[in-house]
């Protein structure tokens, strides 16, 4: 079965970079470019092996990172000192992106018409996904990290081969739903219980992404360090 998870609902390359910078707790003005580039490429590999369709933007960023990494290695960079730090090429867009996230935050905290406040005769309704449950609190990359921990059986996830024949995403979607019907609030790891091999783990993970996409599952992480939890959003009896 040809199955692709659509990523456009989720994040872009700058989100992945920010995720890595936060995760490694590094200074945005002194990004360890070599290690960040390696980790970035690792994610792309993993996403590719999960059959996620990776937007071209991710590849453009990958080549930018590699380019910067190679420029950092060029000899004679220290002589003039006038030459700009090659890393500024990503620091600038990252700063702008952080600023932008801040702007979006400012806007969404306002008293929004049709959400917080109401006026006579106003029909403001721009719910983008009318049937969709709350947006996930957890980013795609946090989910991938959690999945990686589940998978980490010493295997290099970059090399895993996936055969989707034995398990179908559809079946796994149903079994996750069944699990959540029994227990409406579970830990991320629990959906993988009983999975036998890597391909089954992968299909379960894809099914989870699909359920989040459909808004049937709410994903949240009470704090940075705590485990990711899942809860059901389909209590009205639909699917």
């Amino acid at each position: 079965m040809d199955y692709k998870v659509k990523l456009e609902m989720f994040e872009g390359p700058l989100d992945l970079l920010l995720h890595l910078i936060h995760k490694n707790e590094v200074d945005i003005f002194d990004i360890p470019i070599s290690s960040i580039t390696d980790q970035y490429l690792d994610y792309l590999e993993l996403m590719k092996s999960l059959e996620m369709s990776i937007a071209g933007d991710f590849l453009v960023m990958a080549s930018t990172l590699i380019h910067i990494k190679s420029r950092m290695l060029l000899p004679g960079r220290n002589e003039g000192d006038e030459e700009e730090d090659p890393r500024l090429e990503i620091t600038r867009p990252l700063l702008e992106y952080m600023q932008l996230k801040e702007m979006a935050q400012e806007l969404s905290e306002r008293e929004i018409l049709g959400r917080d406040v109401f006026a006579r005769g106003d029909a403001t309704s721009f719910d983008e996904y009318p049937d969709m449950a709350p947006k996930p609190d957890v980013t795609l990359f946090q989910l991938i990290d959690a999945f990686r921990r589940v998978v980490s059986l010493g295997e290099d996830p970059g090399n895993l081969t996936v055969s989707l024949e034995k398990w179908s995403v559809k079946d796994k979607v149903e079994s996750i739903i069944a699990l959540l019907r029994e227990k409406p609030d579970i830990f991320f790891e629990e959906i993988f219980a009983g999975n036998q091999d890597i391909s089954e783990l992968v299909v379960t993970f894809l099914a989870l992404l699909e359920l989040i996409h459909m808004g049937l599952i709410k994903v949240f992480q009470p704090s940075q360090q705590s485990r990711i939890r899942l809860s059901a959003c389909f209590d009205e009896g639909s699917p």
Binding site: D27, P93, L107, L113, F118, A119, D122, S125, E128
Partner: protein
């Protein structure tokens, strides 16, 4: 003494008339809209009456307030009652995805902007999101830029101001400095300022082309 009383009553009368207009209106009323219904009354008196009404509602501790949005005045319910109102209207709360919110934010703060500039900020394709925002009437096409391909220029609408409880674009919240990363902050601000300067030059271009661009808009 009688005169003072009479004047007081007239003021009260004016407030009540304005209140009735606000009560019945289905969109924010500008001061001049109100004046259109009260031809013998001056703008300052109307503004004063609006101020009194706003103060009155606040002190009465009601479920609604008089808000200044999109250069007008509108009576709106307070956020505390949102769940109940939503139940009554049988609608889900207005909600935008993070991606849409970010796109809208760039346009709001940096307008006018073309799609390419927006995408440089977010690092991902925004075609679908722009279409959604246009459909929701939160952004509008302001014209075309004098660049190869004559790209469309986007800006926010009056509806945007109404939805986000803004009097005008100038009342957009000021941005906090990025402090999260401590070290190198000075450098950051500097870099950022250079960037913004470069950006605003581009924007001026866009503003210049705006007027003629609008004509060629089909």
């Amino acid at each position: 003494m009688k005169e003072v009383l009479r004047e007081g009553r007239m003021e009260k009368q004016l407030e009540l008339i304005i209140e009735s207009l606000l009560f019945a209106a289905d969109k924010p009323l500008r001061v001049r809209d109100i004046q259109g219904c009260l031809p013998d009354t001056g703008l300052p008196e109307i503004e004063e009456a609006l101020e009194t009404l706003r103060h009155e509602y606040d002190t009465m501790d009601r479920s609604f307030a008089l808000k200044e949005v999109a250069e007008g005045y509108q009576i709106r319910t307070k956020p505390d009652y949102a769940p109940h109102v939503l139940r009554m209207t049988k609608r889900s709360a207005a909600r935008l995805s993070t991606a849409a919110m970010e796109t809208l934010a760039i346009i709001a703060y940096k307008q006018p902007m073309i799609r390419h500039e927006i995408e440089q900020f977010r690092g991902v394709d925004t075609g679908g999101i722009l279409r959604t925002l246009l459909e929701k009437n939160l952004i509008r096409i302001m014209g075309r830029k004098h660049l190869p391909g004559r790209p469309l220029i986007y800006g926010t609408t009056r509806k945007f101001l109404e939805v986000f409880d803004l009097h005008s674009l100038e009342s957009l919240p000021k941005l906090k400095e990025i402090k999260e990363f401590g070290i190198g902050e000075a450098q950051a601000t500097q870099t950022y300022e250079n960037e913004t300067q470069a950006k605003s030059t581009v924007q001026e271009d866009a503003v210049k082309t705006k007027t003629e661009g609008t004509d060629s808009e089909s």
